[in-house]
Amino acid sequence: MYVADSRGTPAPAVTPEPQAVAPGTRPGRRAALAPTVLALGTVSLITDVSSEMVTAVLPLYLVAGLGLSPLGFGLLDGIYNGISALVRLTGGHLGDRLGRHKALAGLGYGLSALCKPLLLLAHTLPAIGAVLALDRTGKGLRTAPRDALISLAAAPEDRGRAFGVHRAMDTAGALIGPILAFLILRGAADGYDAVFTVSACVAALGVLVLVLFVPGRRAAPSPGAEPVSLRAAFGLLVRRDLRRISLCALLLGLCTVSDAFVFLLLQRATGIADRWFALLPLGTAAAFFLLALPLGRLADRIGRWRVFLGGHLALLLAYGLLLTGGAGHGHSTALPYAVLLLHGGFYAATDGVLMAAAAGAVPEEHRGGGLALVQTGQALARFAASLGFGAAWTVWGPRPALAVAAVLLAVAAAACARLRPADEADARSAAETRAD
């Protein structure tokens, strides 16, 4: 039934939709990317350059610059994950309620930008920890409103591409940031304050681009309209599609081995030298960067849910390679590349694509809250998964733990393939009904 549903996708995809499709768009050709999406992508790119500059030099700064021992630094992570979830839901819901996604996103970006100069003043681990927590609060606050803005700016049949462009730009920033930071440190030995100052300037530029080039709410909510209440926000889960998407994101999130473990397992499987270890996340990011747009477009064409599930199959394949490519089989030089490509592909097929899929299941006035709900469920599930995987590693050892994760992932993916929410076509007709 799934195949039958999507076989006819190209035709409905160009069904005229008065509001969203730009005039003059010929059938079979895509509309130009909405300027708002490009602007938000630019904001994310700039902001990621800024924040990854800091992330890249932070260990060096703590150890070499301040002479601190950063061990035990991650202890607050657990508590912080809970707070971050609350902040995210708040950001999403307030954006809906006030009808001001842009203001909420701006607040989040602004808060993170403010943290960069604060780093110049913080010289102890607790103070730096507090600044980083504030930085992540800003990140939590802005994510859902920003994704709501992207989904509202793009035509429904173009959402996959819009999120793909955004995620590619975002990841590009993450790749550029560390290079910029280390270039500064080469020019000025121990110039951590210069790195933080430049990072602050870059972050300020990001906020400015948001303020100048991302339009605010096009129309204020009509006076007679029902206010977006908190109850209504949670009532979103009554909607079958959103409930199923959230459930699947949660279920699959519970079977996702966190990145740190994937890189550790990859190193164990292949015996990659320590000096290359730090480059593994860059490999994943590079694959994410290259694949985000093509997979986003593919999702528009063949169905977002299918690409989302496909991404998890890529992850499953990566687990399989890690399980079979390890000790006893000789070390294949292609293995690390294949695993990182699949791992980056997993992100490219799931991160923005999930938002594109979820956007179709949430009415516009609840877009921020709805997306936040899905993201939060997924983030909490992934956090639980990393705790669970750590425990399984302790009890069974790394390979059995990964084997269990692979089996669970396969089961969850099969369950989600059955639970499949109505495809975009349905959501689109719903949107049209509303527009009438």
């Binding site: 260990p59 950063p70 630094f73 280390f182 121990d190 110039g191 210069a194 430049v198 750590g390």
Partner: protein, 342 residues
């Protein structure tokens, strides 16, 4: 606002922010240059020969010179009897260093690529490179066994964009007699509370060697707790002995460990105090240093330890009786990672 207006605002802001950024980099760069000029009132430093040979005359200290000037970060030496006197610098740069019995270990920055990388270099008595090993992170601890046959070092790994702010350590061991290299102590079998133990979150740091050239002590961290472990290089095992103990340093007679301990109730900025542990009775005694010490101490003899505290030019060294009596005394300014030789 018209598009033209907005672009104008953007261009002005870009120019302004770029100016601030460039200014910050230029200032940091000129400050870095300043550190290559000798500091007023600093120690007199001349280029000369530095040897690690145990029988090279009077007792001396070899250390990382932190004083500003052309020899900053180089290994330097002073007579142990005149630590505040003129220094002789070697031309070999190290971030962390230790030496014993004519063998030295130097963890140094490798300023090759864009990103700073590090390597561990084993030095002979004449500071010639015996072997080099690339490092996975930022150097923090280095030790040579009393007989000069075993070498260990610890680096901080982490902080990459995906793993977030979680840091871990990696401790490596090298046996110079056989060339056996253990890239990570985490491959050793762990016995904790009498049972085999494993966990992905295991971290080791701060190795100290016994005189038998086989036994060592180190810190093991897992599940938010630190432990003192005793290791056996031949059996490739480590066994936990005690909780809440970091960076042990074994006395030359092998009977006591001085270590840093996280004392409850202290400010999280300055959580550590130095303690001495008697290995026969397992009794611990606080040392007479009231400041927080984040260092692996070095024994000068069976009665005295030396450690670093943050100073005006990076770090200063202090000495202290190892039995809890007395008071800390400044040993030398602008110095780090000392080894007492001869």
């Amino acid at each position: 606002m018209t598009l033209q207006r907005r672009i104008l605002v953007l261009v002005c802001a870009v120019l302004l922010l770029a100016a601030v950024g460039v200014l910050a980099v230029v200032r940091a760069s000129s400050r870095a240059d300043e550190k290559n000029q000798p500091q007023a009132g600093g120690p007199q430093i001349t280029r000369g020969e530095v040897t690690l040979a145990p029988d090279a005359g009077e007792r001396r200290i070899v250390f990382r010179n932190m004083a500003w000037g052309p020899h900053r970060d180089e290994l330097a030496t002073v007579p142990a009897g005149a630590p505040q006197g003129p220094r002789t610098a070697s031309g070999v740069s190290c971030l962390r260093f230790h030496a014993a019995a004519g063998t030295g270990i130097c963890l140094q920055a490798d300023k090759g690529g864009v990103q700073e990388s590090y390597r561990a270099v084993v030095l002979d008595a004449h500071l010639k490179e015996v072997s080099a090993h690339p490092l996975a992170g930022i150097p923090t601890r280095a030790r040579v066994s009393p007989g000069g046959h075993l070498v260990a070092w610890t680096v901080f790994v982490g902080g990459d964009s995906y793993a977030g702010t979680n840091f871990s350590t990696r401790t490596s061991l090298l046996d110079l007699r056989t060339g056996t290299f253990d890239a990570s102590l985490e491959d050793f079998a762990i016995r904790k509370d009498g049972k085999a133990y494993r966990n992905a979150d295991v971290n080791f740091w701060g190795v100290t060697f016994a005189a038998d050239e086989r036994t060592f002590y180190a810190t093991l961290a897992t599940g938010g707790q630190t432990y003192l472990v005793r290791g056996d290089l031949a059996e490739r095992t480590v066994t936990t002995l005690r909780e809440n103990l970091e960076c042990p340093s074994l006395s030359p007679d092998g009977t006591r460990l001085v270590f840093k301990k996280r004392v409850p109730g202290l400010s999280p900025d300055a959580p550590w105090r130095l303690y001495v542990l008697d290995l026969a009775s397992m009794r611990e005694t606080p040392l007479a240093e009231e400041r927080s010490v984040d260092d692996q101490v070095v024994w000068t003899d069976d009665k005295t330890v030396v450690y670093s505290l943050p100073g005006d030019f990076g770090a200063d060294l202090y000495s202290l009786p190892a039995d809890g009596s007395g008071a800390p005394a400044p040993l030398m300014a602008s110095a780090l990672a000392p080894a007492f030789l001869g």
